[in-house]
């Protein structure tokens, strides 16, 4: 088994499989990147509705194609039908939003269930018909790499590649619009065009990914890589590429494992791999991961003790707390007999000044609700512009002179 897996991963397992692997990687890559904009605009639910709304389209396309004398297996035809009903679903959501007073999540939930239900009914009906090979349609629910034809693989690769190019091209305006819509408008950006383009892109990714990940789970490939990437950085550029890479790797490994185990649907495997990436990020990302937060707690405790200790030194108070004494002497502020070293004295003076500055800052910014990130155990100069710091020091100066 392992040898087979290695063969697959190294693109040695045949042209067909390798092409599918390549396509799945690109799909995951572009889905990861596009998902960032969905995440930032908080539109994940719409994507799920879009995916579920493809089902009736697939069924109808099958019926139409069979009716017209074909086998009903042409992937292009089926995907075209999928795209049609998905677009219809999106349009209905828009109608409900505009002409009724229902909230958006209600509209989305309604469309999702109605379209999906209709699709299931149609699918069941198709099963009762006498032409076989209907199991092929069910593979669109959860994705099936096994049994993909060469032409299917070409569609996958070319379609994903095309979506990727468009996404890279529109990256900048999409970021601008996601961040500050009103400002983007003032720059004369055509907001409607970019909104539509993003939705078309998502539709393209969803429809192309139907065969690989299936309509029920494709939304996970859009969301989870972004969320995982978010743990690693605050920089949008980094997040876009990190999310793309995580998506790409998930697509790659998911498709590889699925080729190894042809009875297992591909979608769930891809999603589970995405989840593993998420778990690793959640636990181990520096600064934002859970482990990092735990370590920050210890650091925080040390900071509190250091500050309290220095303040006590500055006020000439005796220190009794064991951890405080340990920290102060470790950093060279305290002598063995409990008296402050010259270094300790200047550090104590600094601590007293910082306390005063933070106190004045707090008084001044009573109406300023956005200062949650300001760590009052750090030097205030790290958080203020030079003119802001100057103002505070002027006030301190005045207070000192009064004394």
């Amino acid at each position: 088994m392992i040898e087979n897996l290695i063969e697959i991963i190294l693109f040695q397992a045949g042209y067909n499989v390798s092409l599918v692997l390549f396509g799945a990687t690109i799909l995951g890559f572009v889905a990861g990147m596009a998902g960032v904009f969905i995440f930032l605009q908080k539109r994940a639910l719409v994507c799920d509705a879009l995916a579920h709304a493809t089902l009736p389209g697939i069924a109808i396309a099958f019926l139409v194609m069979t009716f017209l004398g074909g086998t009903g297996r042409s992937l292009i035809g089926l995907l075209f039908g999928a795209a049609l009903t998905a677009a219809l679903g999106l349009y209905c959501i828009d109608l409900i939003n505009r002409y009724t007073r229902l909230s958006e999540d209600v509209a989305i939930g309604a469309i999702l269930s109605v379209f999906f239900g209709a699709g299931v009914v149609l699918l069941t009906y198709i099963q009762t018909l006498s032409f076989g090979g209907v199991a092929g349609l069910e593979s669109f629910l959860f994705g099936a790499v096994a049994g993909m034809l060469l032409e299917d693989a070409y569609i996958l690769v070319i379609g994903s590649g095309f979506c990727l190019m468009i996404l890279l091209l529109l990256q900048r305006p999409l970021t601008l619009i996601s961040f500050d819509r009103v400002y983007a408008h003032s720059l004369r950006l055509n907001i409607r065009f970019y909104d539509l383009s993003l939705m078309m892109l998502i539709m393209g990714i969803t429809v192309i990914g139907l065969k690989i990940a299936g309509l029920i789970l494709i939304v996970a490939l859009l969301i989870i890589p972004t969320v995982a990437a978010r743990f690693w950085s605050d920089n949008i550029g980094f997040i876009l590429w990190a999310s793309a890479i995580i998506g790409g790797l998930s697509g790659f490994m998911g498709a590889a494992l699925s080729a190894l185990l042809p009875d297992m649907p591909t979608g769930p495997i891809i999603v589970l791999i995405c989840f593993i990436f998420f778990l690793l990020s959640f636990l181990f990302a520096p600064f934002r991961g859970v482990l990092a937060q735990f370590m920050k707690q210890r650091q925080f405790q040390e900071k509190v003790h250091r500050r309290q200790g220095l303040l006590a030194l500055g006020h000439n108070e005796k220190i009794y707390d064991g951890l405080t004494l340990k920290i102060l002497s470790r950093e060279g502020y305290l002598r063995k007999d409990g008296m402050a070293t010259p270094l300790g004295q200047s550090a104590a003076g600094k601590a007293l000044l910082e306390e005063k500055r933070w106190q004045i800052f707090r008084q001044m910014s009573v109406h300023n609700s956005n200062v949650k990130g300001f760590d009052e155990l750090e030097d205030i100069a790290n958080f203020l512009t030079s003119d802001e710091l100057n103002q505070i020091d002027i006030i301190i100066d005045k207070q000192n002179r009064v004394i």
Partner: protein, 274 residues
């Protein structure tokens, strides 16, 4: 419809007062017959204003008077029922690159993963377009320079959620500076901002005026109008007055604008009609 006005004088009277008669083509921003409504209630009705070049102009009025709406309608952010707008003598739309907007801070998602530098770079979008390189020396130094003007050069790599309210406002001002526009529209730039930031922002705006730019700001604090602004426009759905501060900023006009909303004692400190 007025097309590229060259030497047109416009003198109109509203409740016996003359509004400033600047030739339309010479105004920084000129608005005629602007009307906007949300649904059925009019928010702005038939507003005519000429904002003079190279001055600090304030737009004041009570809540819901349409001050923000005026700015947004000028920029095309909200649709207008009627009216035309001219920027430096030309119909707005073609040369929108010459006007920069600093919106109210309220609607931003502060968890958005962008740094201070990223935000200011957004102001360069009109210059670099979809694919232009932002990393060139010119653009990098432009970003640094704009941040330096507002005192935020040391904060370039900080995520915007880690800043105080006043610091965030400075960053958005820096973003508009990067556009190198001739006219700056600011929506309540001093709202919820600490004293140091207010001082810093005023300095930047005054420097803009020295560089022959025009500043138009929706302002909420009546006490500082005659201290900061050369020109004032009073609005309450309709235009009340629009002129140099010592002409327009009178008790009578304030009463028209604010109705009973201001007590006489509040108005006492302001200029008497000449």
């Amino acid at each position: 419809m007025v097309i590229a006005a060259q030497q047109k004088f416009e003198v109109a009277t509203i409740s016996g007062q003359n509004i400033a008669h600047i030739k339309r083509g010479q105004a920084a921003l000129s608005v005629r017959g602007l009307s906007v409504s949300y649904g059925e209630a009019p928010v702005l009705f038939s507003v005519d204003v000429d904002f003079p070049k190279e001055q600090m102009c304030a737009i004041i009025g009570p809540n819901g008077a349409g001050k923000s709406t005026l700015i947004k309608a000028v920029l095309g952010i909200v649709p207008k029922l009627s009216g035309d707008v001219m920027l430096h003598g030309q119909r707005i739309g073609k040369n929108n690159k010459n006007i920069a907007y600093v919106p109210q801070r309220a609607s931003i998602d502060w968890d958005f993963p962008v740094t201070v530098k990223d935000v200011v770079e957004m102001g360069l979008y009109q210059k670099v377009g979809l694919l232009g390189r932002l990393s060139t020396k010119t653009h990098r130094s432009k970003v640094y320079e704009c941040l330096d003007h507002v005192g935020m050069a040391d904060f370039m790599d900080r995520q915007i959620g880690q800043l105080s309210g006043g610091q965030q406002q400075r960053v958005f001002l820096a973003r508009s500076l990067a556009q190198d526009a001739d006219v700056y529209l600011l929506d309540e730039p001093f709202a919820g901002v600490d004293a140091a930031t207010e001082k810093a922002i005023v300095q930047v705006l005054q420097r803009l005026k020295q560089k022959k730019k025009t500043v138009i700001a929706v302002h909420h604090d009546l006490a500082s109008v005659d201290q900061y602004f050369d020109h004032v426009t009073l609005l309450n759905t309709r235009l009340i007055a629009s002129d140099q501060t010592d002409e327009a900023f009178t008790n009578e006009n304030l009463h028209h604008a604010y109705g009973g909303a201001l007590s006489l004692t509040q108005l006492d400190g302001y200029k008497q009609p000449s």
